[in-house]
C-alpha cells in the first residue's frame, strides 16, 4: 500500500472501525470512573482492576468453556474490588490516591501470581476463542457508519450501548441527580436526606464493575489469552479520558474514539514507514488532556472529588 491508499475511503473506514474497537476498554473503564468521580471518589487503581478482572474472566472462560461466564466473572470481580475500594476510602476514609495505587500494586501481583498457580503447569499457552466480530442485523448495513460502528465484536457493541445509557442515567434519572449533588456538595445533599455514603459506594462499585468489563475485553475479545502486560497503561488513559471528557460520558466517548483512532493510525502508519514518529502521535491525547485541564473552566472537577465526607 502506498500513500494514496491512505486517503481512500476504505482505508479511512478501516482505521475508524479499528479505532472504535481499540477504544472499547478505554471507554468502558472511563464510563465507570465517571460515576465514581462524579460522586466524589477517584479510583487510580482501575488499571489493576482491569488486569485482575481480565485474568479472572479469562480463567473462568478457560475452565468452563463459556466466554459469557468469563465476562460475568470479570464484572463480578470488578464489582468486588470496587466494594473493597469503597470500604477503604468511603468508610475508613483512607487517602484515595494512595489507596488506588495500593490497589494497583496488589491487583497486579494477585493476577500474575494466580495465573502462575492456575496455568503455570500448562505446556501450551491456555487460550480461548475470543469474541468474534460480526455485523449487527440492520445497523451493520448502513453505509459508512455500519462498518465502522456496527461490525464489531459483542463487547464493543455493549460499549456503544452503554455510552448513551450512562449519559441518560446521569442526566435524567433521580440517581444521576443525586450522584452529581453528592460529588459537588455532599453536605447540601446530606441535609436534604440523600444518603451520601450509600451513593458513593454504589458509584464506586459501578466503576469497578465497568472496569472489570473493560478488563474482560483484553483477554476475551482482543487477545484470546492472558498476558501480564495486556492492559499496558490503558487504565490510566481511561482516567485521562474522564478529565478530557469533563466528566461527561458522551465527551469521554469522543475522547476514547480519538485515542483509539490515533492508536489505529499509528499502527498503520508505522507499517508504512511514516515521516512523523509514531510517538508524537501517541503523545497528542495526553497533551490535549493537559490543555483541557488548563482551559476547562466551564466544567471543573466535581467539587468534593477525593474529599471524604464527614458529617460535621
Amino acid at each position: 500500500m502506498g500513500w494514496p491508499a491512505i486517503l481512500s475511503l476504505t482505508f479511512l473506514m478501516q482505521v475508524l472501525a479499528a479505532g472504535v474497537s481499540l477504544a472499547t476498554p478505554l471507554v468502558l473503564t472511563a464510563l465507570g470512573e465517571i460515576f465514581a468521580e462524579r460522586s466524589g471518589v477517584m479510583n487510580l487503581g482501575v488499571e489493576g482492576i482491569m488486569l485482575l478482572s481480565g485474568f479472572v474472566g479469562f480463567s473462568a472462560a478457560v475452565l468452563t468453556g463459556s466466554l459469557w461466564l468469563g465476562v460475568m466473572a470479570s464484572v463480578l470481580c470488578g464489582a468486588l474490588m470496587g466494594t473493597l475500594f469503597a470500604l477503604m476510602v468511603v468508610t475508613l476514609q483512607a487517602d484515595q490516591i494512595v489507596t488506588g495505587l495500593a490497589f494497583l500494586i496488589l491487583s497486579n501481583g494477585v493476577a500474575i501470581y494466580l495465573y502462575r498457580i492456575l496455568f503455570g503447569s500448562y505446556k501450551v499457552l491456555p487460550q480461548v476463542q475470543p469474541f468474534r466480530q460480526f455485523s449487527l442485523p440492520v445497523l451493520g448495513s448502513i453505509p459508512v457508519l455500519g462498518p465502522i460502528f456496527f461490525q464489531q465484536n459483542i463487547l464493543t457493541l455493549v460499549m456503544l450501548m452503554l455510552v448513551p445509557l450512562c449519559a441518560l442515567v446521569l442526566a435524567v434519572t433521580r440517581f444521576g441527580l443525586r450522584v452529581t449533588a453528592v460529588g459537588e456538595h455532599p453536605a447540601a445533599a446530606d441535609t436534604v436526606g440523600v444518603r451520601v455514603l450509600q451513593v458513593r459506594y454504589l458509584c464506586v462499585v459501578i466503576g469497578g464493575a465497568l472496569a472489570g468489563l473493560g478488563g474482560a475485553y483484553f483477554s476475551l475479545a482482543e487477545l484470546g489469552f492472558y498476558s501480564n502486560s495486556m492492559v499496558g497503561g490503558r487504565g490510566f488513559i481511561a482516567l485521562a479520558l474522564v478529565v478530557f471528557g469533563q466528566w461527561n460520558p458522551l465527551l469521554a466517548f469522543a475522547g476514547g474514539l480519538l485515542f483509539g483512532v490515533i492508536n489505529a493510525v499509528q499502527i498503520r502508519i508505522q507499517m508504512l514507514g511514516s515521516p512523523i514518529p509514531a510517538q508524537f502521535l501517541i503523545m497528542m491525547p495526553y497533551l490535549l488532556t493537559i490543555l483541557v485541564m488548563l482551559v476547562g473552566r466551564a466544567r471543573q472537577a466535581p467539587n468534593a472529588l477525593t474529599v471524604p465526607y464527614k458529617r460535621e
Partner: protein, 347 residues
Amino acid sequence: MTSSRLSSVLIPMLAILCAFAAGALLIALAGKSPVVAYEALIRSAFGNRNNWGETLVKTTPLLLAGLGTALAFRARIFNIGAEGQIQMGALGAAFVGLFLGNLPAFVGIPLILVAGFAMGGLWGGIAGLLKKQFRANEIIVTLMMNYVALAITSYLVGGPWRDPASTEPYTARFSPGTILPVVLPGTRLHAGIFVALLAVAAAWWLVHHTVYGYQSTVVGANEEAARYSGMNTGLLIVLTMFLSGGLAGLAGVVEVAGLQHRVLQNFSADYGYTAIAIAMLGRVEPLGVAVAAFLFAALVIGSNGMQDLVGVPVSIVFILEGLVLLLVLASGYFRRQRRLEREGEGC
C-alpha cells in the same frame, strides 16, 4: 518517643507482619513451604556479597524516586509523575553521556548528575507551575506528563539517539567518564548508592533544618494557616515540584549511568509508581523512605531468588507490597479516631 512517633513505626511493622502472614498462605496455596520460601527470600537478598550488592543496586533508584515523591507529598502535592521525571532525568544523562565527547570522570560524573537532576526538575517544575498558575490538578497533569515523557524517550531511544551499531531500541554506551564506577568489586553496586545516601542526608537536612523544609511541612499540614502566616505558597509549590522532579531525575541517572551504561527502552520498570508506595510507607520522612526503599528492594531481589530456588512466583512481592500499603492506610482510620478523641478532651 511520643506515642504518635511510636505508632508511626509500629504500625508499618505490624502491617508488614500481617502481609507476610498472608503471603505465607499464598505460598502454601502454590504448594510450597512458606518457611523454605521465606528463607530463600532472605538468603537471596542478603545471603552473600553479590546478593547484598543487587539489593543495594535496586535500592538506589527506588530511594531517590521515593525521596522525590515524599518531598512533594509532604507538602500535600500529589506528584505521581516520578515515572516521567525519571525518564527525563535519564535523557539528560544521555545527552551528557553521548554527545559531550570524552570527558574526564571528575567532570563527567558531576555533569551527568546535574543534567539529570535539572531535566527531572524541569519536568516536575512545569507541573508545579501549571498548578500555581492555573490551579491545574497535579495528579492528572503529572500522570499525563508521564506518558509524554515515555513517548519522548521511546522516540529518541528508538530513533535519533539509537545505538548505530544495533537495531534494538537502546542508545550507545555512555562515554567512560560519565559512567558511575562500581564500588563493591564482584557486584554491580555502583557509585549511585552514594548519590542516594547523600540525597537522603540532603533531604533530611532540607526538611528538618531549612526554612524551605519548615514551610513545606506547614503548607502540607494546614495550607490556610500557612497563608495566614504570610508564606508564599505559590512559590513553594513550584520549588517543591522542581526538587521532587529533580530527585526522581537522579533516579533515572543512576540507573542509566550506573547500571546499564546506556538508555534502554522501559528501563525504569515502574519505579515511579513503586516510589509512591515507598514514600507513603516511609511516612514522608527521608529516613523512613530510605528504610522503606531498602525493604522494597530486598523484597524484589529476594523474590527473584525465591522464584529461582523454590519456584514461588515473583509476583508475590507485589501482593506483599500492596497488602502492607493497604493495611497501613486502613490503620490510619483508627489513628485518626484516637486523635479526634484526644483533641476533644483538650479543648
